[in-house]
């Protein structure tokens, strides 16, 4: 029975099917919201799905200079790693996979997804991809530190004296004491996390690695057809994973009814997407590389460190 339940969990509810639907929904809502904020009609809600399907139906061109195996395998590994990341997110208190330190696992899997972008770009043998991958590395260095600091802060609050890296402990703590967002000491950390989300996903103001007007789509410059569809889907799933991670760490509200919990979780994810991705997309232009780096290592890391210090001295 438990075995069947685990399989169902992985394939259906907190797992694969839910992840795919939620990521298409979040990506579609993001595009429609940006359109509405710019006072236009915008695409349909299913636009990300159409984009992915269309890419699947196109010819896959492998450049002569590319390393064919790495070029084709990188997007598969990337998509798989973000899908596995989504398995660790608790939806209504249930997660498909559970390990003792799942926050560390999530951290590494998210890094792996970015690394596959870098590997795929370097295997494509295009100078534009080369510029893009160096920028992606800068973006990674920028957001990794504040992300780790935020995780340490949350872990320290929920760990009772020790830092915990288990998401289930974090959600259990919030179920007992209310969402962590109500704790003023953690507000700087929450703000830092809201800034980490768009950079990790590669959303507009921080999409320095895919700047289409400067470096011809950067890391994706040589990708077409099926591998491009996988990278686009990876981007959508990453959106869901990052907003889901924020909800799990700061906004876990539990009522006791699992269906209500799942509904609240979906609404919270959409809200986080709106605040952290759609609004910056609609109101700002793209940052330059060194601006991103400076901003993350001063303001965002500062916010995260402030919370960490406050929590560590026991406020």
């Amino acid at each position: 029975m438990t075995f069947i339940q685990t399989i169902l969990n992985i394939l259906l509810l907190p797992g694969l099917a839910f992840t795919l639907i939620a990521s298409i929904w979040l990506a579609g809502v993001d595009r429609v919201l940006v359109a509405r904020m710019q006072r236009r009609v915008g695409p349909s809600l299913l636009q990300p799905l159409y984009d992915v399907l269309k890419c699947l139906g196109k010819e896959t061109i492998i450049p002569r200079k590319a390393n064919e195996k790495v070029f084709l395998l990188a997007p598969v590994v990337g998509l798989a790693s973000v899908l596995v990341t989504a398995m660790f997110l608790p939806v209504g208190g249930v997660s498909a996979l559970k390990v003792n330190s799942d926050m560390v696992v999530i951290l590494y899997l998210l890094t792996l997804a970015s690394v596959t972008l870098i590997v795929g770009a370097s295997a494509s043998g295009s100078p534009f991809a080369g510029v893009g991958l160096s920028r992606e590395m800068v973006a990674m260095i920028s957001y990794e530190l504040p992300l780790v600091l935020v995780m340490l802060t949350v872990g320290r609050v929920c760990g009772k004296g020790l830092a915990t890296f288990s998401l289930s402990t974090v959600t259990a703590y919030q179920a007992a004491n209310g969402p962590l967002l109500l704790n003023p000491v953690l507000w700087p950390a929450a703000i830092a996390m809201l800034f980490v989300i768009p950079c990790e996903v590669g959303q507009h103001p921080f999409d320095i690695d895919e700047a289409e007007t400067e470096i011809c789509e950067g890391v994706l410059a040589e990708y077409s057809g099926r591998p491009l569809a996988q990278f686009k889907m990876m981007h959508n799933v990453k959106m869901y994973v990052m907003s889901g991670l924020f909800c799990a760490m700061f906004l876990n509200i539990s009522t006791g009814f699992i269906l209500a919990d799942i509904l609240i979780y979906c609404v919270a994810c959409t809200l986080v997407t709106f605040v952290s991705m759609s609004v910056p997309h609609a109101v700002t232009a793209r940052f330059r590389v060194e601006q991103v780096f400076k901003f993350y290592w001063t303001v965002v890391t500062g916010c995260a460190a402030l919370s960490l210090i406050l929590v560590w001295i026991g406020l």
């Binding site: 595009r31 359109a35 710019q38 006072r39 236009r40 009609v41 915008g42 695409p43 349909s44 636009q47 799905l49 159409y50 984009d51 399907l53 269309k54 890419c55 699947l56 139906g57 196109k58 010819e59 896959t60 061109i61 534009f128 700047a211 289409e212 007007t213 400067e214 470096i215 011809c216 789509e217 994706l220 410059a221 040589e222 990708y223 077409s224 057809g225 491009l228």
Partner: protein, 155 residues
């Protein structure tokens, strides 16, 4: 197969070909008039994203290639090479009178147009310069052609 699932997926992909249009713009020696109008069609005022349009920077990701300009001697080889990099199925849309007739530049020693000497042109938007509405109408026509081309790929 189960409930004709493979057929349904193929149909969905054909359908998506006309709903997700990524534009790539080649300037083949244009005076910049048509280029401004193309950009105008993508702005929030005309909102080409309603049709699923998105400007892309790489020919590898293009579904609709917009060509403006009378194809000068300098740009001819670049045009041919860039078009060869676009994956099938794609539509070639010429914007303005220059790519389809040469316009006022016709007869010049530096002009190698029109574009259909080099590749079949799917939609030709005339005008010097065409209005953004006309460019949007051209893109919408190209969307219908794209769907047919995608169907032709597996039939």
């Amino acid at each position: 197969m189960l409930f004709n699932l493979d057929k349904k997926i193929t149909e969905a992909i054909d359908d998506a070909a006309s709903k997700s249009l990524w534009l790539y713009h080649i300037n083949a020696g244009s005076c910049n008039g048509c280029d401004i109008e193309i950009v105008a069609a993508l702005t929030p005022r005309y909102d080409a994203e309603r049709l699923g349009c998105k400007l892309t920077g790489s020919p590898r990701q293009a579904d609709i290639v917009l060509v403006s300009g009378p194809v000068t001697l300098q740009s001819r080889d670049r045009l041919i090479r860039t078009l060869a990099q676009v994956p099938e199925p794609y539509c070639l849309v010429t914007v303005g009178s220059c790519p389809c007739s040469g316009n006022v530049f016709k007869g010049s020693y530096a002009i190698c147009g029109p574009v259909d000497k080099y590749r079949h042109v799917d939609v030709s938007v005339a005008g010097c310069t065409p209005k953004p509405e006309a460019i949007m109408a051209g893109i919408a026509q190209a969307a219908a052609i794209l769907k047919e081309k995608r169907r032709g790929m597996h039939e």
